[in-house]
Symmetry: C2
Subunit: 109 residues, 2 copies
DNA sequence: TACCGGTACATAGTAACACTGAATAGCGGG
DNA sequence: CCCGCTATTCAGTGTTACTATGTACCGGTA
């Protein structure tokens, strides 16, 4: 993956995962697979698991262990109230940034 | 500044500065002031100077020392060919990300 | 039985970046 | 003569994503 993408993902990736979880509960392996489908081909599993640990420790998600038919038990994450508040704040921050970049891009300033 | 903004700026700030320099040459103090005008109120001066050192060492900009009437000499940065190539790549990467986030935001997935 | 591939999670170490807080230095005005 | 504005630099810190593994459970197959 490009170095630029790596740096741009810092901060963004968490928002992406929170946004996904706002739609439906999911577990790490599933999230990784979904990201790959979305075109984020090279996001390492370890990255996602580390991110999930972080947002859990910050109290943004609720966790439930669910047995799997095909392997070790899944840790299913779902967004709670604090997570939704954090996501809303993320969209605000992102919107601010995206607006300014869009302007920069098209004005060629 | 919000922690989210701090993280979102990683990678983005460099693109912003490169975009600015693609329009006109500028020096650190001036860039900081311009960013504040654009609404990035709390970007530390030290951050910009460190960024300028980085892009200079990567050979994305040309530097010229210009005496100032009001203080120590200015280091004026201008985008060169490699910088323009890097900026183009940045816009591609940014576009990919922005598109996916826009979709996530409006589909509520 | 023994092995392998797919599922699923975890972690130690590294690199990159923005921030904090301070120091240095030139210049003009009160 | 010091204060404020201009202008740059740097050491130390925290956060994040990546690399590279390791662990573990399961079903199928030779």
């Amino acid at each position: 993956m490009g170095k630029q993408m790596t740096e741009l993902l810092k901060g963004t990736l968490e928002g992406i995962v929170l946004a996904l979880l706002s739609g439906r509960a999911a577990y790490g392996y599933e999230i990784t697979a979904w990201l790959r489908e979305q075109g984020f081909a090279d996001i390492a599993e370890g990255t996602i698991y580390a991110l999930l640990v972080r947002i859990e420790q910050r109290g943004l998600v609720d966790v439930e262990k669910v047995p799997s038919e095909k392997g070790p038990p899944r840790k299913v994450y779902s967004l709670n109230a604090r997570g939704r508040a954090d996501l809303a704040e993320f969209w605000t921050t992102w919107g601010f940034l995206a607006e300014r970049l869009e302007r920069l891009h098209h004005e060629g300033r």
